[in-house]
């Protein structure tokens, strides 16, 4: 479980980014004035919706990784996978520093439609709306999510994929709940710093993942958490 703990912590650190992007959503999920517990319920449903979407993405990513790993000699495919995922994560991490390799990413047909729909859901009362909203929110293009999806691909199996994303999603839970319930917010300066922290952590993950593909096993730094070292190459 050690490895998942690390991912959860990374997700928590990454939620500095969420505070910028998604806190608006959490606030505007029309808080129920009648009873506090209902507000809690709405926030929990919203976040559950989000996490389920992440898990779904995780299982898909894991399936892809699984497929790739088993498409050739395991040791090699795993390394290739680690290199590709590592690079993807690094690219995503660079976005947090304002370095974009491509612009206008993900402004396809779906996005405008998605946003239009989301806007409607925010003002809708009832228990189902926050849940549905969370589900759609999870699909919003987000470098943080992409980075961890890349990590889930590298995990190389469905189970590990879904657990990676679940851990990440749960990691973002506390910050988002705090935002939604207590209206906690951070000043722009803090947020800029926080986003840099998030970027650094993803960069670290990316580099380590990349290293798993590039370095020989023996050269892996011993103090790395077990998960970061990954399963020994050639293991099932």
């Amino acid at each position: 479980m050690n490895d998942l703990l690390w991912i959860g912590l990374a997700g928590a650190a990454g939620s500095f980014h969420c505070l910028g992007m998604c806190s608006v959503f959490a606030w505007s999920l029309a808080p129920s004035s009648k009873a506090r517990w209902r507000t809690v319920g709405r926030q929990l449903l919203y976040n559950s919706g989000r996490v389920v979407t992440y898990c779904f993405l995780g299982v898909m990513a894991g399936a892809l990784g699984h497929y790739v790993v088993h498409s050739g000699p395991v040791g090699i495919t795993q390394r290739v996978l680690a290199i590709v995922s590592g690079l993807l994560m690094i690219v995503m991490a660079l976005q947090f520093y304002g370095i974009r390799l491509w612009t206008n990413f993900g402004t396809g047909i779906g996005l405008g439609t998605l946003l239009g729909g989301i806007r409607k859901l925010l003002q809708t009362p009832g228990a189902a709306a926050p849940l549905a909203f969370g589900v759609f929110n999870g699909f919003l293009p987000c470098p943080l999510v992409y980075a961890f999806v890349a990590q889930a691909i590298a995990a190389g199996s469905l189970g590990r994929g879904v657990l990676t994303m679940a851990a990440f999603g749960l990691g973002t839970f506390p910050a988002m709940l705090l935002v939604g319930l207590a209206g906690v917010t951070l000043g722009p300066r803090w947020r800029t710093g926080g986003v840099r922290v998030a970027g650094s952590i993803i960069l670290l993950f990316g580099l380590v993942t990349l290293a798993r593909g590039v370095l020989p096993m023996a050269a892996m730094p011993p103090m790395l958490p077990r998960f970061l070292a990954g399963p020994p190459a050639g293991a099932p």
């Binding site: 389920v52 979407t53 699984h66 047909i109 549905a132 199996s157 189970g159 879904v162």
Partner: protein, 706 residues
């Protein structure tokens, strides 16, 4: 409105046809062209109640939530995350799956089931029917296997099928609505309310019910609903959409305004001259709506295929089930049959056939170009030869002065004298002469008034100007009058005639004194357009009724080598038939009125909208103005649409073929088949969108200032 019976889809504004899907929005039954549009309307609908609109989205969101949970658990089952020792866990998971799937079936399936039932009652087997059969088969089998302790459940297939189908429909509808933004002002033209000045303020009326004499207020930025004359106010108008004129035109009291053009920055009161239904704008609107209503050849084809396809797939799925029941376990048989049913769903075929053409027609309408049917667009893409009429198409259509020779004295003075007499006549050459005199600046003072003017039909004019007898006309006229002509001038006349100009001789008091040569000038953009067409691999050709010399002059200026002159309309039709028999698609470009039969004979007739009435031309494509430069773009647009459609159809069919084979062979998991089905639709929609965006990037004007 009359030509295309049936209502418009409330969401994407496409004619929904007689078999419109009727959806209940805020207690009101509205027509929709499909279920997807109904869904999208509910979500984006501004007129529907907010809460109700969100309901569809909640449905989709909660359905997706359930489906994703089902997917997670199912995938874990597939990968044997629960070992053989944990059989009871497996069983529990299956029960949980069933518990999640049941609400998902109700939440997501309800509208689809309703739609399938709706179609069935009208005797139509729709794609929804297939989804319903697939999803309910999967669900029913899974439930029974849950109770009887069977070895497989397919809750994932059932729910994913519903989620993805709903999503695909939704995206398709959203895309169409986006495309319809170009068309919206056109399609709304007749429904849009107009502020008519009444005794006590304003009265809102649809444009069709505005009659001549009504005074209409048009505010800044609005579209003129009727043809009329400005009574009050100052503004300017953007008339590009109707006349092709790109510069703003100032409008003040007394100026004419054209329906469909856009008012600039001032509010105007306009006196209606023609009823709102009789304007060119309304004609464009009707023509475009008719075009979208008329099914394209490909659409007909795919429809015919689908009619046979659906029952065939059902039979095939049954056959697959029987076949595999004999050879494998019952779940293997059901898995193969389900996958067959799901993967064969022709969801992508519909959008594949129409979406690209639809976008192209809408885009062209946004530039004022009317394409009467998507079929015309499809055919334009196959054209190999472009045939031009000369007069009015390649040339301006009005003669202008190209040479002026006098036997003795000031040539300009002769022109002025001739122009003075020419004022009395409306022959194009007479008008050209007056205009030329004005242009040369010789007539800064007013031209003298002619008296005792006799018109000699086909020959010219004779009359009296400032005391001397003046004659104007062909060489034949002067022969008959017996007026003398100097040998030098006679030689010049022969020369100019050989060059293909139309000549007007000017004589005074028994002596021919000057000759003016007129020619129909080539449009400035014509040469570039011919070259551009050449670059696109098209041969160009001129068919004209004019004299060979005149046609040759134009042809040499344009760099085209193929031309035929002196043709009657019948001969032109024969020439086009000949080209078409040689297996070449022929586009005929004409002014739309005189060459009606010729335009109709060609594969595609293109009328340059130089003032011709849309209703009176037989051309399938009518441009906004006399400008030729729309042609290459139009051709590109048609070819892109054609290519996109072909790619999309190839993809949709090819994917179905491969998918069917794999599924029937039992190689495809049903849930994977559901995923593939959704991907297929997405690829088609994205591909059509991409083709439009690429053109937008190439600098095409897409947006109509609505």
């Amino acid at each position: 409105m009359s030509a295309t019976s049936g209502a418009l889809c409330s969401h994407c504004l496409v004619p929904a046809g007689a078999n419109a899907y009727r959806g209940l929005v805020a207690g009101e039954e509205l027509p929709f062209c499909c279920f997807g549009c109904y869904l999208a309307y509910r979500v984006h609908g501004e007129r529907g109640e907010e809460a109700e609109a969100a309901l569809s989205l909640i449905r989709l969101g909660v359905g997706a939530f359930l489906a994703m949970n089902i997917m997670l658990l199912s995938l874990l089952l597939y990968t044997h995350a629960f070992g053989a020792a944990e059989a009871h866990v497996r069983r529990a998971v299956e029960v949980v799956l069933g518990a999640l799937a049941t609400p998902a079936m109700v939440i997501l399936g309800w509208p689809i089931f309703a739609d399938a039932w709706h179609g069935l009652r009208r005797g139509r087997l729709t794609t929804e029917s297939m989804i319903v059969v697939g999803a309910s088969a999967a669900y029913a089998y899974s439930v029974s296997s849950l109770f009887t302790g069977g070895d497989r459940v397919y809750f994932d297939t059932a729910t994913m099928l519903l989620v993805l189908f709903t999503l695909g429909r939704y995206l398709d509808a959203a895309t169409r609505a986006r495309a319809a933004r170009n068309l919206a002002p056109l399609l709304e033209a007749e429904r849009a309310p107009v502020r008519v000045l009444a005794a006590d303020g304003f009265e809102m009326r649809p444009a069709t019910q505005v009659v001549p004499g009504d005074r209409v207020e048009v505010r800044a930025g609005e579209r003129f609903p009727v043809d009329g004359e400005v009574v009050e106010g100052r503004s300017w108008a953007d008339e590009a959409l109707v006349t092709g004129e790109s510069e703003p035109v100032d409008k003040a009291a007394g100026d004419r305004v054209i329906a469909g053009t856009t008012n600039g920055n001032g509010s105007l009161i306009v006196a209606t001259l023609a009823s709102g239904a009789a304007t060119r704008w309304a004609q464009i609107a009707r023509a475009v709506r008719a075009a979208l209503d008329r099914r394209s050849r490909l659409q007909d084809l795919t429809d015919r295929i689908a009619t046979w396809f659906l029952p065939a797939v059902l039979i095939l799925a049954a056959a697959v089930w029987v076949f595999w029941s004999d050879r494998g376990s019952s779940w293997e048989a059901l898995s193969a049959a389900l996958a067959t049913l799901v993967v064969a769903c022709p969801c992508a075929l519909g959008p594949a056939a129409y979406l690209a053409s639809f976008l192209a027609v809408g885009e062209a309408a946004g530039e004022g170009i009317v394409i009467r049917s998507t079929r015309a667009l499809e055919q334009l893409a196959t054209v190999r030869t472009v045939v031009f009429d000369k007069t009015g198409s390649l040339t301006r259509g009005t003669p202008s002065l190209v040479a002026l020779e006098a036997a003795e004295g000031d040539a300009a003075a002769w022109l002025e004298a001739g122009a003075a007499l020419a004022q009395a006549d409306s022959h194009p050459l007479a008008r050209a002469m007056v205009e030329a005199a004005g242009m040369r600046g010789t007539a800064q003072r007013r031209l003298a008034r002619p008296t005792q003017v006799q018109a000699r039909p086909g020959e010219g004019l004779v009359g009296s100007v400032e005391g001397s007898e003046l004659a104007l006309g062909s060489a034949g006229l002067f022969d008959r009058l017996g007026w003398a002509i100097s040998p030098e001038l006679a030689a010049r006349v022969r020369e100019l005639e050989a060059a293909g100009s139309s000549l007007v001789l000017i004589g005074r008091d028994g002596q021919v004194g000057a000759v003016a040569a007129f020619a129909d000038e080539v449009k400035p953009e014509a040469r570039a357009v011919i070259e551009e067409l050449g670059e696109r691999g098209l041969t160009t050709m001129i068919l004209s009724g004019d004299r060979p010399a005149a046609v040759e002059r134009v042809a040499s200026k344009l760099g085209t080598t193929t031309w035929r002159a002196g043709l009657s309309p019948e001969e032109k039709v024969a020439a086009i038939d000949e080209l078409m028999r040689a297996g070449r698609g022929v586009a005929m470009v004409g002014d739309g009125l005189n060459d009606g039969p010729v335009l109709a004979a060609a594969t595609v007739g293109i009328a340059l909208g130089s003032g011709s009435e849309l209703a009176r031309t037989s051309a399938e494509i009518v441009t906004a103005g006399p400008d030729l430069s729309a042609l290459p773009r139009l051709l590109d647009s048609a070819r892109t649409a054609g290519r996109t459609t072909r790619v999309n159809l190839t993809w949709a069919f090819g994917y179905n073929a491969v998918g069917l084979t794999a599924a029937a062979a039992g190689l495809l998991q049903p849930v994977l088949a559901a995923g593939l089905m959704a991907v297929s639709s997405l690829v088609v929609v994205a591909n059509a969108m991409r083709s439009v965006r690429r053109k937008a990037a190439a600098g095409l004007r897409l947006e109509v200032q609505a």
